[in-house]
Amino acid sequence: MEKRTVLKVENLVKHFPIKAGVFKRTVGWVKAVDGVSFEVYEGETLGLVGESGCGKTTVGMTLLRLYEPTSGRIIVEDEDTTYYFMPMLKAKSYIKKTYLDRFERLYREKKERALEELNGVDKKYYEMFLNGGKSGLYRYLISNMQEKRKAFRRNVQIIFQDPYSSLDPRMRVKNIVAEGIKAHGLARGEEVVRKVSELLSGVGIIPEHMYRFPHEFSGGQRQRIGIARALALQPKVVIADEAVAALDVSIRSQIINLMEELQERHKLTYIFISHDLSVVKHVSDRIAVMYLGKIVELASKKELFENPLHPYTVALMSAIPVPDPDKRNKRRIILQGDVPSPINPPKGCRFHTRCPVAKEICSEKEPQLVEVKPGHFVSCHFPGSLGWKS
């Protein structure tokens, strides 16, 4: 079956300013996410794994535009959504730079032939440019911003880590779950109650409990409520950011199983963010490993575990204690030192300061994320040179 891309991130960058002094001058930047690209296919789970501070949450928050991207493109289905939440002037200049001016140049050089080298949204928008001219494309992109934003909010939802702080303690569960339904005018009156009941029973919460407050539920139940809220608008993509990290082991597996059931039932696409490689391995179809604001390796789960190529991926796998005392004496790769700061990431390969197989070039030249096998991407000058068997 042909895989359909529902979400595509191109070269996403998010830098946070560091302010200092009375005038709050910007004295530097936290390069939290520094050029991240990936695609998510319909119905799959893409795992995003890496240690704390590597930029996972920032990727999620920037995708949702709870943070404004520093640069990069965020494409949902066949529309560029990057400018949806920008202030008007900025949105206009983005459209001009990314499409109008660029297409004009392309047309001058290659006329219709330029279509052959374009794909995805670029191709779609270039066709519109050919048919309707600059103003036609511009009008298409800039009109109905309100609806565009609404549609985006409906399509992409998030589940947070902390089921304690992510639900408003003063609101009854019914209103928490119904908030989006009402805001988007998806139901009214009795219909809302019916929908909330359906959603709650779908996540294993007794519908009669909808008039209770969040503190009357346990951590696992609150996470179920968070999931019901995320599903209320029938999203296409759900970003789960450490959604099971705060839960006890026996409850964690309940929630993982629930998320898998719901994915099947509602044909959901997940971006599953976690620091825990064992959990990510269990739920994901494909996995992206992050280190210091970059993806260092991306492959299908099977490929990644059978043939890990980046030394960091290998070290991460070997560091996880396996719940089997017979496997205790397996050779471990112990990385030296701590993760460097994202304010001044190491030159060259960002991992070179801790990498057991680094050579001179690693501290000089930054490796690119390249496809070494169909669907298997790695960014390392010496992929596969750190061996390890579990």
């Binding site: 082991v249 597996s253 391995k281 796998m317 701590d338």
Partner: protein, 331 residues
Amino acid sequence: MGDREPILQVKNLKTYFYTEDGVVKAVDGVSFELYPGETLGIVGESGSGKSVTSLSIMRLLDERGRIESGEIIFKGRDLLKLSENEMRKIRGNEIAMIFQEPMVALNPVYTIGDQIMEAIILHQGVDEKKAREMAIDLLRKVGIPEPEKRVDQYPHQLSGGMRQRAMIAMALSCRPSILIADEPTTALDVTIQAQILDLMKELQEEYGMALIMITHDMGVIAEIADRVAVMYAGHVVEYGEVHEIFKKPRHPYTYGLLSSIPRLDVEQEKLKSIPGTVPDPLNFPSGCRFHPRCEFAEDRCKEEEPEMVEVLPDHYSRCFFWKKLEGLEVK
């Protein structure tokens, strides 16, 4: 195991908290032994009573907590009968403890060196110059780079992993015979956790200490423990040698826990899960405290509380129907 003398014996320990809402029976009849040089793992979900057990051993409970009954025999003496003065000599000197969050144990306004030196001077009676040398040696030993420089830094100047190392250095400064580590790696990233576990194993061997490792992570237990106590709702529900616990669990809770972990080393289709939630400590279920969540429960479990029984040599379970678990595979 039978021919050796335990260095620590906890017998039927009960620690309750008297709160506005009622009595929390946080630890309710816990027993175990610790042998010289060995590692006992205490594992269980949050609220099961792991931390309260260790704080009871150290007698560091807050004013609401009371040790109701039991004995804690350390080198032949019952710690619960010691005066606060005598207890202070045991704490830090004979039994040391490290925590999940080193910032709680480290004083933010003193340098790392000052804090380690204070402990050394207090317990070993050496002069300041000698203590400083010893502190630097210790920092080197726990893998802190440039210890001559770090010794004069404050806790907040160190990374999480480094702070944990500094706390270990402080705990080891008096060469305790028992180290209690309460979730020492829970707040750390896995690559740093691997460093710290490695370090702890090394130091344990060198110092010959006994170690109580408290964690909610079955992986960490499998990695480091010789014997394991599995806790649930204030009880030890299963107790035995580490291979026995992992390969032949004889309590439904242990079995459920082991089957619900996503694993890196084996393929799993669907995860098993334990239904329901962890019970309210103010209102534990009647009979076996696990019965509402137990797939093997029968009527008897609702009414009668099971005792610890020896199900295999040196392997104990608090379950009437442990035989139902014979031959079950953890997958």
